[in-house]
Structure formats: C-alpha cells, structure tokens
C-alpha cells in the first residue's frame, strides 16, 4: 500500500486511478465507513466545505471590476483532492469544476512537482482548452493547500473574461480560425508565489489585452478566493485531524458517484435515447476570414444516450462533423464541462455535488470530430456555439426518460444557444476598450412538460442566469439602449410554449470607432428542438443595423424613433422610422466599424415548445398576446386559437370559435399528411441522387468519412445499395 500523504503526487494520482479501475469505486473506497460511522458529522462537513466555496466566491465577486463577474456571476470556485478531483463547489458557472480538475491532473502528470515545483503559496493559471478549460476567456487559477508539509488538496477558481486579446475584441473570439488568433494564452503556468501574482505576469496581461482591468482584477479576485478556501480548509483540518480529512474528502466523492447512479435509477428508464440538432455556419464573403476551409458549413449533432441498468449514463456523438478552421471546436474538457453543468441542474439537485457525478457517466467523443479534435492547433474560442445545442439535445433525451418514469415536473425541453455580442475600439471616454456583453445570460428556456418555459431567464451554462443591469452595461460601452423588448413568437410553439427571448436595440454614441462582433448563433437552420409535438424555437436570426441614421435629428424634433426591428421580417421598423444605410446581415456580424449615430440590434433565443399546439390553453394565449409574447396572427395560424377584443380592446379567447378552428385544423392535418412510408419512397430518389444544397451534401460526406456507423444506418434507412457513399 502506497504511503499516500508523503508519496509524490504523481504516484498518488496513478494509484488512485488504479484503485478505481480495480474496484469500480473512486480511490478504491468500497465502503463509506466514515459516513456509516457518523452520518451527521459527514453531512455537516460537506455542508461546511460548500459554504466555504459559496462564501469565497461571493467575496471575490466584489473584488472584480468585470460586470460579467460582478453582475452576471461568471465565476465558480471549488475545492479539490490532492489528485485534482472536485470535493465541493460553489454555485455559478459549474461547467468548470471538472475542467479545472483536468488542469490540476495535467500539471501532476507533466511533472510539475519537480519543475516548476508545487509549493505552499504558489498560483497556477490556465486557459488552454487542451489542458483543461472550454475557451480562452475561461481563465482558471489554482493554489495547492498544504497542511504542514503534506499536500492535502487544491483550491481553484474560474472567471470568464470579457476580453481575451484575440483577433476580434471580447472573449468569444468569433473570427479565430486557428489557435494563434484566439488571444492571450496562459498554459498551465506558475503565475505567482507566496500568495502574490508575479509582476511580470501582470505586465504581460496589461500589454496584451484591450481591457486588462477586467482580467487582472479577476486574477486578484480568484487568488483571494483560493486563499480564503485554503485557510478555511486548513482550519477545518486542525479541528478534525489530517487522517480524517484525507479519508473523508475522498468518501465525499465516492458518495457523489453512488448518488448519481442511484438518481439515474430513480428518475429514468434504462434504454437507448436518440436525438439530434443542427448548426449553420455562414461566413462566405465576410471580411477577415482566411480561406482555410469551406466558408459555409452545416453541422449535424446526433447524440445517442444509453442508460444502463447500473445507472451509468453514456453519451455518444458518433456521426457528427469533423473539426474545422473556425472557433467552434471543443476539447474533451469542454465536452466534460457541458455534461457536468447539465447534470448538476437536472439530476444532482440534492445530495453531494462533486466530481463523483461525472465519474458515473461516460462521453464517447469520436476522434477527429469537433468534439475531440485530433489537431491541437484548432481554435475553441466559441465552443459554446456547438456545445449549447448539443447539451440541449442531452436535456431532451434526459427529459424523455423523466417523462417515461413519471417525473413530469423535471421534463424540460432544454437550453438554446445564447448569441453573444462583443465589441472593441474607442470607448465613450476616449480610451481603447474591449468587452463581451453578457446580457445574453438570460435566454428563453425550453418548455416544461407541465408549463411554459421561462421567459428571458435561463441559459444552460450558468444556472443562476442573469442579464445584468442596463445602467452598468451602458457604463462599460459606447452604446445606449434605445430599446429592450420581448420578441413575440420567439418561444417554440406547443401545448406549453418555449420561453420567449428579448432583443436589444442600441444607439452607438460618443465614439468614431466601434467594432461589433457576434457569435454563437446559427444561420439558415434552427439549432434547437421541440419535444412531444412541440416546435423548435426560431433561432436563426439575422442582424439589422442602420449606418449614418438620422436618429439625432429625429430626437431633436421630438419625432418617434424605432425601438426594435419589429415583426415584419421583410421590412423592419428601422426602415419605417429611420433614414440611413440599412444592413441585414446573416451569420456572424463582422463588418466595418460603427460610429456615433448608427443603430444596431441583436436578438437572443427562445426555447423549444412541448406538446401539440392544438392543446394550448386559449386563455393563456390571450394573455400572451396582450403582453407581447405572441402575435395575434400566430395565435390563430399556429395555435388555432380565435381571439376577440373585449370592451377595452384587450384580447379574450373565443372558446367556441377556437373549437371550430381547431377541428378544422385537425382535419386539414389529416388531409395534408401522407404515410411516412410514402414520403420515404418519394425521398429515396432525391437521397440517391444527392439532390441537396452543397453544404448538405458536404455534411453527409464528412459524417460518412468519419463514421462507419453513420454510413451504415444511413444506407439501411434509405435502403440504398451496399457501398453507397457521398463524395465530398
């Protein structure tokens, strides 16, 4: 038996993994002896650790200068074992609990104990996704926790930076096509000693970022939180003893693993679940894109989830697309993160939340795809563009399981992509600046199986979704809000509709150079889905802007201005109210800089719907129309609900007319519908001839090249000749 506390940490990690391999239990813990001995003490200690984390995070948020961290809470902290497994974590962006685990293990495996050395008071930082994070702006700091001479754990913290110094301003660097344009990398680097950040590291940050105050103060916030957690853990060890700590901290993780398996057996049904979504990336003709690959690309994201009888959940991405020269690739660390943050929301809502939950799952990430690139030079700056749609599918698959088991209150159509807007140039104060706007942290959620989705209140990547305060955002950018409103019909239709999104319209003000860039929004296809008859939300929006508008002139004369693009997709209210040069942009918004007097609008996403639209409650629908969540036109044409006006002009449901309308719509459905077998026979010819748009054909060819299983299933489904392939 290895004398664990004094053995080199690398040996301790290898030993821990060997024990897991041999026993199937974390660190070889086959019996939760301390829990059995004194369950109250066990639970109390874990609650204390969680309190240390929550308190450290709250304290640190006050140190940060970034509205992303202060307002929206883009931060998480956690306490780890010496081998780098999470024991307890705070609230916040829990995606990173396991990515930080990968970072610590990477340093251990790469001999950091010898060089650069791991000592009390050291600070290590990382934002390299191939070592362990999701994207460049997710910068993490960890500090070892020593008790005497013994390494007893790690304290870690992550903040999402609003500016990363990449080819385009902000953090989610949309234009990055390779790693070398993503921004400032810190690759598992010792950035401080004796509890203090190194001056040369801070200087590097100050000279390589557009807005270093965010990054540097976030670094200080993270170090403060790590020191806070470290001192709390040391005091706890003084109280309970070193041997007890070393044992109990690992039992917490094994209990977390067992709890996850038990939860799966309690809430789901074993079997295979399948779903898919798509993402359209359209960049042809856009300035700045190097001709490294196809400019326009359609991604398929199929997922097969298997729930085993032992409670283990396995997710398989076989059949998806290869990595590409764009910023949306993802590393296995990022994929882990997406899985972890989803599980913490949907299954680990009680009991111990830690790396044990992750250990009860498995991800199958095919080599060479965007989920597991076989080239470490690829960019991952906007991984979320594909991660969010993918984990939205995961939520729907889990929800099918909850529905089967009867836990209808947990069934949830899931998250959607959260289109990001970032900017840089000259600020309203006449200084260079750069930042990401995080009001996107409040999308519409998918519907539930028993109620409508949340309006402007949910994103998958931060369970404490918050759009921040308009006044604070305005302090940080040379744009003023002239409108922020609910987007009618933005929730997917269904018996229960998806949550609605909002859109913002800004006046560019007090600057002659503002670069605006957007990312993480799909073009030409919806990147979400509905469930049980619900429709997907309309998530392929274009950007509308007005250059050289006459807004100041209109304001001077007290004339009305447009506060939103309006409801006519072919002719916006901007064109009705303003004069100027009108822009309608599909795909990432990467254009020439804006200046004072220009107008720009950006829309967020609503969630998918649940159930048959013809079962929608007419009274709820009247309320939706009255409050701007739905247009009257959609109420009738989509939901089959007839609305009349009451004496004061407010919409009221006409129940009898609705019944008639629905009866007619149902009959129309049956009249229009054809047997699936007939449709398949008609489509087969088209499939065989590859009579598709070039991007669709390319998608099939790429999937077939990487996946024999995808090819086999495709050929079998369409009854194609053996050996059938698409070339591309």
């Amino acid at each position: 038996m290895l004398n664990k506390p004094t053995a080199p940490i690398r040996e301790r990690l290898i030993e821990s993994e060997r024990l897991m391999e041999e026993t199937g239990c974390y660190d070889g813990i086959t019996s939760l002896s301390l829990r059995n001995e004194d369950p109250l003490k066990f639970e109390t200690l874990h609650t204390k650790l969680r309190a240390y984390c929550v308190s450290a995070r709250e304290m640190a948020r006050r140190i940060s200068a970034s509205p992303g961290v202060r307002e929206v809470g883009e931060m998480v902290v956690a306490i780890y074992t010496p081998e780098g497994d999470a024991i307890a974590l705070s609230n916040g962006i829990m995606v990173h609990v396991h990515t930080m685990s990968r970072f610590i293990k990477w340093m251990i495996r790469n001999g950091y104990e010898e060089n650069p050395g791991i000592r009390d008071g050291d600070i290590f930082a990382n934002n390299d996704a191939f070592i362990g994070t999701v994207q460049v702006p997710d910068v993490m700091d960890v500090m070892p926790i020593y008790h005497g001479d013994t390494l007893v754990g790690w304290a870690g913290a992550v903040c999402h930076e609003l500016e990363a110094g990449g080819i385009t301003p902000g953090g989610d660097v949309a234009l990055a096509q390779e790693r070398f344009t993503e921004g400032l990398f810190v690759c598992a680097e010792k950035v401080g000693e004796n509890d203090e950040l190194r001056r040369d590291y801070v200087i590097r940050c100050e000279r390589n970022l557009r807005m270093p105050i965010y990054w540097v103060l976030d670094e200080k916030a993270k170090v403060a939180s790590c020191i806070d957690m470290r001192e709390s853990v040391k005091a706890l060890i003084d109280e309970i003893g070193l041997d007890y700590w070393l044992k109990v901290s690992k039992e917490f993780i094994e209990e977390g693993r067992r709890a996850q398996l038990a939860r799966t057996r309690q809430l789901t049904v074993p079997g295979k679940y399948r779903g898919h979504t798509f993402y359209g990336h359209v960049t042809a003709g856009k300035p700045g894109y190097q001709p490294l690959g196809d400019p326009d690309w359609l991604y398929n994201i199929p997922i097969e989830m298997e729930v085993g009888l032992d409670g283990k959940i396995t997710m398989d991405f076989e059949g998806t697309q290869p990595w590409g020269y764009h910023s949306m690739n993802c590393t296995p660390a990022g994929m882990d993160g997406g899985m972890f943050v989803t599980l913490t929301q949907h299954m680990n809502f009680e009991g111990l939340v830690n790396d044990g939950a992750w250990m009860a799952t498995e991800l199958k990430l095919p080599h060479g795809t965007w989920t597991n690139p076989d080239n470490e030079m690829v960019a991952t700056a906007t991984s979320w563009a594909l991660l969010l749609p993918a984990y939205g599918v995961f939520q729907r698959l889990l929800s099918r399981a909850f529905l089967g088991r009867g836990f209808v209150e947990e069934a949830f159509v899931g998250q959607v992509n959260s289109p990001m807007i970032e900017m840089g140039g000259m600020s309203q104060y006449g200084t260079p600046f750069g930042m990401a706007h995080f009001e996107c942290a409040a999308a519409g959620s998918g519907a539930l199986a028993i109620k409508d989705g949340l309006d402007t209140a949910y994103v998958g990547w931060n369970p404490e979704s918050d759009m921040g305060n308009i006044e604070i955002w305005e302090q940080n950018m040379p744009m003023l809000y002239i409108g922020r409103s609910i987007v009618p019909n933005s929730g997917g239709a269904g018996k229960y509709r998806g949550g609605c999104a909002f859109e913002s319209t800004w006046l560019i003000n007090k600057t002659d150079h503002l670069r605006l860039v957007t990312s993480e929004h799909s073009s030409r296809v919806f990147d979400n889905g509905g469930m049980c008859g619900g429709y997907p939300a309309p998530t392929c929006q274009k950007h509308r802007a007005v250059r050289n508008s006459n807004v100041f002139e209109l304001a001077e004369h007290g004339k009305p201005i447009a506060h939103a693009p309006g409801r006519n997709p072919h002719h916006s209210d901007f064109e009705v109210r303003f004069e100027g040069e009108f822009e309608l942009v599909e795909g990432p918004y990467i254009t020439a800089p804006h200046k004072s007097g220009d107008i720009f609008s950006h829309s967020y996403n609503g969630g998918g719907g649940y159930g048959d639209v013809l079962e929608r409650d007419p009274v709820k629908t009247a309320w939706d129309v009255e409050n701007g969540f739905l247009t009257k036109e959609a109420a009738a044409s989509v939901f089959g609900i007839a609305l009349a006006d009451d004496a004061e002009g407010f919409p009221v449901a006409d129940v009898e007319a609705t019944e008639r309308l629905r009866k007619r719509k149902r009959a129309e459905r049956l009249e229009k519908a054809v047997p699936v077998s007939q449709w398949m026979a008609e489509q087969r010819e088209r499939v065989q001839q590859a009579d598709f748009a070039p991007e669709v054909r390319k998608m099939y060819a790429s999937a077939m090249k990487l996946s024999p299983r995808f090819t086999r299933e495709f050929v079998e489904f369409w009854d194609l000749p053996e050996g059938f392939r698409y070339d591309g």
Binding site: R265, V269, R274, L298, R524, F526, D612, A634, M680, M699
Partner: protein
C-alpha cells in the same frame, strides 16, 4: 418517504396543480412510488383497457395488447411492435418551402428550406401531432427511444413482466 396521492399526481401530469405546490414537489425528495401511480393516472385517461407499460411521449404509450406489446396513441391507434420506430408507421407533413415554414413562423427569420425542413409526425387516425423533427433534407428519421422494458421492470421496479 415522500409520497403523493393519485389525485395530486393526476393534477401534476395535467398541468393543473397550482404552481406553489408543484414547486414544492420539484424541491422535495422524489417519491419512489411515483411510477405505478402515474401509470394508473394515464390508464384512467385513455379510452382503452390494454395495460400501459411505459409512456414514451405526451400521448403515446407502450402497452400490452392482443397483438403483443405495441406503441399506441391515446386515441387507440396502434403503431405496431414497440421495438419498431413508431414514426415509420405514422403520417407526416413536411414543411420544406418558405411558405410552409411561414405558417408556423409568421414573424421570424426562418431556415433555408434547402438546409432544413420541419417534419411533423401525426397519428393517422386522430391527427394528434406526436413529434416534430427539424432536420436537414435526407436525414434519416430518428428512433427516439428504445427502452430496455424487460430490464426496467425486472431490475428497477422489481416486478418482472410476464
């Protein structure tokens, strides 16, 4: 152990349970006797007597029938053996033109029908819309769920199927 009456489960499933009570159920420890109460609630709802074994969508159930275990619509229409993809025995409306997509998305930017179509899978008897797929043209129809029915009843519920 947490437990709720069949009436409470019925209201929860139909979306009629008041939100404060629903919220409490969401926050509480889960009730281990949920499944069979849920099945009773659904059995009361449908107009046929074949025993429901597992719900697979809002109005679709795997049940034991004279023709074996089948996927059945709430209206009684059978889609055949539960191990086959019920969608292949359904009716379908495909929205693959701008005009057809506009009927569902009248005020929004819509997909390019060359890149994505909306497929509506409908019960050929009652016209209930059971599932919607948003997929690229030519994409195989998804088999959403293949439950391990035997294992579920035997090992998780402790009541092996006959």
């Amino acid at each position: 152990m947490t437990s709720y009456s069949k009436e409470v489960i019925a209201d929860l499933v139909s979306g009629k349970l008041p939100w404060p009570q629903t919220r409490r159920i969401m926050s509480a420890y889960k009730d281990d006797d949920r499944f069979f109460k849920y099945i009773q609630v659904l059995q009361d709802r449908v107009g046929w007597s074949d025993p429901i074994l597992l719900p697979v969508s809002d109005h679709l159930f795997i049940c034991d029938s004279a023709e074996g275990r089948v996927t059945k619509c709430e209206c009684g229409h059978s889609f055949g053996d539960y191990r086959r993809n019920w969608k292949l025995a359904a009716s379908i409306i495909v929205r693959d033109t701008e005009e057809a997509l506009r009927e569902i998305y009248p005020n929004s930017d819509i997909p390019d029908p060359q890149w994505m179509e909306i497929r509506e899978f409908i019960c050929p008897e009652c016209g209930t819309l059971h599932e919607v797929e948003a997929a690229a043209p030519g994409y195989p129809v998804v088999h959403d769920f293949e439950p391990d029915l035997e294992g579920f009843y035997r090992e998780w519920l402790g009541r092996p199927l006959e």
